[in-house]
Symmetry: D2
Subunit: 266 residues, 4 copies
Amino acid sequence: MRLRATTEIQLSTTQPSAIIAMLRPQSGSGQWIVSEAYDLKPLLAPVEYTDVFGNLCQRFLMPVGDLEIKVDCVVECADQIATAPGAALTKPEDLPDSVLQFLLPSRYCPSDMLKEEALQAVGDAKPGYDQVEAIRAFIEHNIEYRRGSSNESTSALDTYHERKGVCRDFAHVGIALCRALLIPARMVVGYLHRLQPPMDQHAWFEAFVNGRWYTFDATQTEPRGGRIVIAYGRDAADVAITNPFGPVEVKGMKVVVEQTEGLARS
Amino acid sequence: MRLRATTEIQLSTTQPSAIIAMLRPQSGSGQWIVSEAYDLKPLLAPVEYTDVFGNLCQRFLMPVGDLEIKVDCVVECADQIATAPGAALTKPEDLPDSVLQFLLPSRYCPSDMLKEEALQAVGDAKPGYDQVEAIRAFIEHNIEYRRGSSNESTSALDTYHERKGVCRDFAHVGIALCRALLIPARMVVGYLHRLQPPMDQHAWFEAFVNGRWYTFDATQTEPRGGRIVIAYGRDAADVAITNPFGPVEVKGMKVVVEQTEGLARS
Amino acid sequence: MRLRATTEIQLSTTQPSAIIAMLRPQSGSGQWIVSEAYDLKPLLAPVEYTDVFGNLCQRFLMPVGDLEIKVDCVVECADQIATAPGAALTKPEDLPDSVLQFLLPSRYCPSDMLKEEALQAVGDAKPGYDQVEAIRAFIEHNIEYRRGSSNESTSALDTYHERKGVCRDFAHVGIALCRALLIPARMVVGYLHRLQPPMDQHAWFEAFVNGRWYTFDATQTEPRGGRIVIAYGRDAADVAITNPFGPVEVKGMKVVVEQTEGLARS
Amino acid sequence: MRLRATTEIQLSTTQPSAIIAMLRPQSGSGQWIVSEAYDLKPLLAPVEYTDVFGNLCQRFLMPVGDLEIKVDCVVECADQIATAPGAALTKPEDLPDSVLQFLLPSRYCPSDMLKEEALQAVGDAKPGYDQVEAIRAFIEHNIEYRRGSSNESTSALDTYHERKGVCRDFAHVGIALCRALLIPARMVVGYLHRLQPPMDQHAWFEAFVNGRWYTFDATQTEPRGGRIVIAYGRDAADVAITNPFGPVEVKGMKVVVEQTEGLARS
């Protein structure tokens, strides 16, 4: 499936402020960036680097006043996500080195405090993929999606008890419960085609079972493809699409994701 | 200063369990490993890898029964730690890429929830080194060192309010308050010469000001050298000296750190 | 300066062949990729990875038949390159770790065999920048630019003695002579605005003196900006824009580089 | 098998000279460093870093006068090396990203100039392991081991034609012929138990077939274990055990490798 995704952000600041943005999806094994444009008005000179998770990060110093960021990409991605009912747990001793960090508790996913809850959520599901699916279904059925019900400090522990949240919170609960069962799990931010309006950037999670990462999204009733990954992290702390260091206000943000038949713009 | 440090750990398990250990200090710009021995009884075949923070990690599968780990090192390290009263804050836009991750909140250092507390702790100290020193002194004077007062789930927020903890908790508070002021801070575990008995592994923190990392230790009244670094991380979640995945019990642990005049053992 | 650069390549193969391409410039400290498109006809599913030099590499399996690759980018880059007459040699002990590999001899730059020649070329130029400029000028004045005068196996040693070559050979000689004097040097492939026709991809070199990399181009009489870097390497072996593993024939290649005033295409 | 290996090197210099040493074997999937000592007399303060191949490198500035380096390690390693007659070639499209660089020609392994020779050497051996073994046997039977027959500039092309060399040259020919057939190959330096006297550091090569690296040593008539790996590289340029930048003279070098039954020295 070929998708075109656009994010426009209007920022304003009263002091020069450093900003780190993660707005450039990368080509990899699961998606191919056919074309891409990254505009800053006024024109700044960002510098790009790769963080420890492999994400492309853009750094720049925003001057006093307004800034408009417009990122536009055309991406070839999978129509459907892989599922693997019954697939086995990868034992800790068999995990790749690079995956081990996704077993550790993190700011929003204090998995060390949710062990009982994780056992309850999975019941007698078979260790591995089925446990993750049980966790996903548990969230879908027990946590209410409600805009504005959480804030920047809300952790998976909070959401688990308050039983409401948004996509980011759903992902945090999924990640924390997986890690509590020794299943590596990571946060994903990106775009989802035909996300229920209002369109926005989206968050979901991946779990590592049976030797690879699988996609899970507790905000959806069915497994769905049409996803563009922008960044991976331990939790939302690692994958803020813009991380300002100063009094930067977000004046507006608009996201559009649509299927396209065309070739790359040229 | 040349130090010899030894850690002996006795473990026991009723099921084969994967273990990740971080028990091998590395030579670097601040210390030189003159000699080192790493014994496992019974003899296992560990595999070593480097994590995202650059730490050497040893992985192995512990069989049912007992395991003794004995790590012994002779290290040339600095007699005194560098201090820099008055040294300036490094602005976010001037931080090296690799340092940026140490601005983010983490499991035990929810810096996003301690902003007011950080401002209070530093008062009118000059931005930069003096703020970090003010934070260190605040902890030294306001938080009581009490063994057994905290556990594995205790965060800097908990310690800040309960006003008691151990070295790990002191470091967490220091890190969280620094990050709340946009000063990168990281956890260090290692050895400290003449640590007040009982000798154990120790934890402290480093803050990045004036273009480099400086060492701070809120458990000590004076800046002190004689430190061997074993591992760095965002917080204690990243630097467990042994991280078992299974019903592994720690039966005993003994740490010895002493000054030595000799050359490397040969 | 804002440049638009386009590369179109027509390939043909009689057997399915793996190809590694390096055709995607990266944003970094010296350039910003405003927009970019990467088309393959027929549509393939490339996977992208980063090599040890930090270059983005695209891997795909080319099926039997024809393939057209069209890469198009708009890049904000420097109008002028930095020069630093008189700037000092960085002593080997002060070189950053990551730069040390560019002191070693490589396939096309056998610096170990050109020590005398390097000393001759620099004469009594001051160690550092002036030596590199002397090397560059030596090449400009002593080696004739002649298309077709070299081939894929031509090394800097060959070119030094035969006194003719193309941009790649000029760069190889520059790199080899620098390394022979313990000045780190690396190969650059990319685009140069207003390269003398016929327009093509271009190659030059960078040398590390006075704590940073400087650009040198022995094919030009004056230092010139308007450069887009595609890839860095030890020499041409590392930076082939397409590296086919099979009977792949290049049927055509066209490169266009032009200044543009517009914003990113959207 | 448990081996103890010691290297003692005496150096002398008339000018302060930077030195990069690679004398510290690493624990990994194939070997475990039980204990290790690294002495410098006089005592210097080396800094350690990891190069692009993952090797530990020690940097220091040698003052005028004499320096003695003594490195001593006890290593648990495999008694026998794995062999896999008949194992298939890994096609270029299936190679891991990190292995691709070992297909490229390098300073001492100009594989681009040895294609015909490679085809001749393998005859009709089955693509994959058997080809590499044919190459190894070709070298064993056609190239004479003769101390002093080569020097620092001798490449695989030279050795192929001159038909004599030492272990380093044997490895270079093996690597170059493998790469010419699109089989990734890399240089290994290390220790071999019961190497025919005089004992010295040793060099051999690894080739990547059937999804993993296999060890080949054309200086030996039988596959033999008892190997300690110190460093990997594209060829000898990458893995010099000491790389001095200045007028450093090697006054003496002594290597001892012996089997040991004891535990780590403590």
